[in-house]
């Protein structure tokens, strides 16, 4: 599903990730863990090919970083559900419209969009807030909305970059539980976090990174 083969990516200032090698299988739940600045976001960006490696190869589904054409990158991203730390919801539209956005991109019709979005909002428990704006919601609700947006296209994998970073511990745990529930339905989840204490008890796989180098996987 996701394969890193000795991948190195260096920013102009010499930071980055080095010789990264790991594999994520379909339906797997893994944490990408490491302190701030370790390279977690860099790895996530390499997965959705916002960055392309200097050395090595990243494989995502049937796409390879070596062969993919620029034009195809949007297609690759449509099979991935992205969730960010800062929620990245658009403040100029309500939750329904935010969650519907990925479907507009693919060109679903009005009815399909309605059905899908309502179903997903029910799944994350936000059906009552569909017509509220992001700023009217709590952090946890915003993050659930963001997960709904990531899920709406029924992706094979969810990439969550520090999704609990701005939440208090109990809300954070709620979000993780939601991701686990999604995972049990067959979607692979890769969640980046620096909060070791929050996740060490949960019994999932860890990929540990420090200074751009994988420590254990």
């Amino acid at each position: 599903m996701i394969g890193f083969n000795n991948v190195t990516y260096t920013y102009p200032n010499g930071m980055g990730v080095f010789n990264v090698h790991f594999r994520i299988l379909p339906g797997e739940f893994s944490f990408l863990i490491g302190p701030s600045g370790a390279g977690k976001t860099t790895i996530i960006r390499l997965i959705y090919m916002d960055l392309l490696p200097d050395k090595g190869e990243v494989n995502v589904n049937r796409y390879s970083s070596k062969k993919i054409r620029k034009r195809k990158i949007p297609h690759l991203r449509r099979d991935i559900g992205m969730i960010f730390q800062n929620f990245n919801l658009l403040n100029d539209r309500n939750l329904f419209e935010n969650v519907a956005l990925p479907l507009h991109i693919v060109g679903y019709n009005k009815k399909e969009i309605r059905d899908r979005v309502i179903a997903i909002l029910i799944e994350v428990g936000l059906e009552d807030k569909a017509y509220e704006y992001p700023w009217e919601l709590s952090g946890g609700e915003q993050q659930r909305a963001c997960i709904a947006r990531g899920l709406v296209k029924d992706p094979d994998i969810i990439l969550a970059d520090e999704p609990t970073g701005n939440l208090d511990p109990s809300t954070a745990l709620q979000i993780i539980r939601l991701l686990e529930r999604i995972n049990r339905k067959g979607t692979a989840v890769l969640m980046a976090s620096h909060n070791y204490r929050l996740i060490k008890e949960l019994g999932h796989r860890f990929i540990e990174i420090k200074n751009g180098i994988i420590q254990s996987r």
Partner: protein, 288 residues
Amino acid sequence: MSKLIYLLYEGIRNLWRHKLTTFTAIGSVFFSLLIIGIFIIVQQNSHQLIDYVRSEYRIEVFFEDHVNNEDAQLIVDQIKELDGVQSIAIVTKEDALKIYQDQFDENLIDILGYNPLPNSAVINIDKHGNSEVDVEPLITNLEKISNVNEVVYEGTLIRRVEYFYKTIVKIISYIAIGLLVITIIVISNTVKLSVYAKRDLIQNLKSIGATKMFIKTPFIIEGILDGILGSLLAIIVLFVAVRSANAYFADLFSFKILFNIYGMVWLMAIAILIGLIGSYRGIRVLLK
């Protein structure tokens, strides 16, 4: 299809969201199209004027004395074939005599005992639309025909009118082009602002798999709408202005200002093009 509707909707929303910059863009389209529209109207009406002046252009050809009526007809047939001749009318000796008599109230036969006037012909020249009328080649050709004695025409007048007309058209075109360039820059800056204000959305859309086309289209629609709205305003103002000017001056002049709807269609087409180019320029920066 539903995608298109969505993108259209997003474009309209962009307009609405940035009312102030939208206002600037529409205002500048309005202003420059107003000026260009005035030029178009002036040009269309000066057209009426120049056409009138040009209809007065005529060339008179006098034949040798010994050319009789049948010979004259043959020469006229020959002239008809020349480039730049729209029509030709023969003026026989007898016609000329009558014209002379009408003009000077004297009968030449009574005075001289014979008709001294030669056969001649009057040529109306071909005037093709906007382009300058150049009669010199025709004159040269006419003078080459045998049995043509003299060619009379208002050379300097024609040259002067044509030169003046050409210069005016040139100056107007330069001003119009200058205005168009300025408007394109204003629109591209407006769209640039709009793009900048939405860089989060753009980043966001990219990360969830939107194509560049999907991201760009609302901004392009925004630019086109700026153009359409600005030109509509300009057209309405011009229309009302021409109508009231015609009504106001109706008692004073017989001349009516023409308001050609095709000119206005052109105006709108220009505006759409401006909007398109402007918005393309505007998004280029952030979306290479």
